[in-house]
Symmetry: C2
Subunit: 190 residues, 2 copies
DNA sequence: GTCTATAGATAGATAGAC
DNA sequence: GTCTATCTATCTATAGAC
């Protein structure tokens, strides 16, 4: 009989780290080739394991796709919370800064979440995402928005995600961040 | 012996029309599911034919992808030509109006051309596309552009294509067009 | 947590009849 | 221009040993 792992003994791979590594690898590949263009084999290859090992952590590809989106949804919720609880005169600026930081920190992932057809289809059926997006949109639109303002928001949404998809934009990070916040603000100044 | 089709007699399917129908069907499917998410079987099904019939018109899937992008490239060239030959004080406005009209008329296709990973990879190796994009970018950036202006252009590029991907934006078409031109102009007013 | 092995479906692509 | 039939490769997913 083989002894069980005694409590407190370090495993070769810390708890949950295999899963996190897998999600990170999947996110990179999704950003490069799209969700449909990424096979489980490709994910396994990047990790240096077999497909079966991938299926040990997730029961389906869809589950991996959702797992990739989850951190972004969490950040969206934080942004909506922060903007909603701030003074109304500041809520828009807070939302814009949050979205810019999200696009810059998550880069490819944020872009994939917004523009990949497979991801979009899964997230539409995933209530938490739709709810946070709706909250932020409402904050940025204000009450009874004009058609022009709704156009401007859709435009700005595409703009911010296009930036996330760019390979590291040159110039100091702080200048890029400030430039993007200015671009978003300009787009919504109507 | 069967007589050959006499000259001048109308064929059941006009010359080249099968090809055009195929490209249109492929463009729709690419917009809905992405290039990787669209099989040749799916294209054939939408046309009510078999895969073999598709392979009669195109020798590979890549060729279909390029054929879908070709009309967009043609329009980009017209835009660049028109803007370049106009008075410098008007060239930016002409380019913006042209891009907005392209995004609105081609809708899904224009968006796919800009954001699908498979399409992007093929077009990067397709000189005509890169050349026209470079011409238009140069026109919109002007000489020795600042980092902020290059950021603004990338932002605007994402914005305009996000609009194309939207399902028919409500409001009168003319208002949508004017709103988009205003959004693009605002984005580049730096 | 990783492996080998494989099922079952579907992918892109080809051959040849009509 | 369209078909049936088929090839080979790859896909998602499962079973079961270590």
């Amino acid at each position: 009989m083989i002894a069980e792992t005694p409590p407190g003994v370090r495993r070769r791979t810390p708890r949950g780290q295999g899963r996190a590594r897998l999600v990170a690898a999947a996110a990179e590949l999704f950003a490069e080739n799209g969700v449909s263009g990424t096979s489980l084999q490709a994910i396994a290859d990047r990790l240096g394991v077999t497909k079966a090992a991938v299926y040990h952590q997730f029961t389906s590809k869809d589950e991996i796709v959702i797992a990739v989106a989850e951190p972004v949804i969490g950040v969206l919720e934080s942004i909506a919370d922060a903007a909603a609880s701030a003074d109304p005169s500041e809520s828009q600026a807070i939302a814009i800064a949050g979205l810019v930081d999200l696009a810059l920190s998550e880069r490819g992932t944020a872009a994939i979440v917004r523009r990949d057809p497979t991801m979009a289809r899964l997230l539409d059926a995933h209530e938490p995402y739709a709810r946070q997006i709706a909250r932020i949109d409402a904050l940025l639109l204000g009450p009874s928005p004009s058609t022009d303002r709704r156009l401007a928001l859709a435009f700005a949404g595409g703009g911010i995600m296009a930036i996330g998809a760019l390979p590291g934009f040159d110039g100091p990070a702080e200048q890029v961040r400030a430039g993007l916040i200015a671009a978003m603000t300009r787009a919504l100044s109507i």
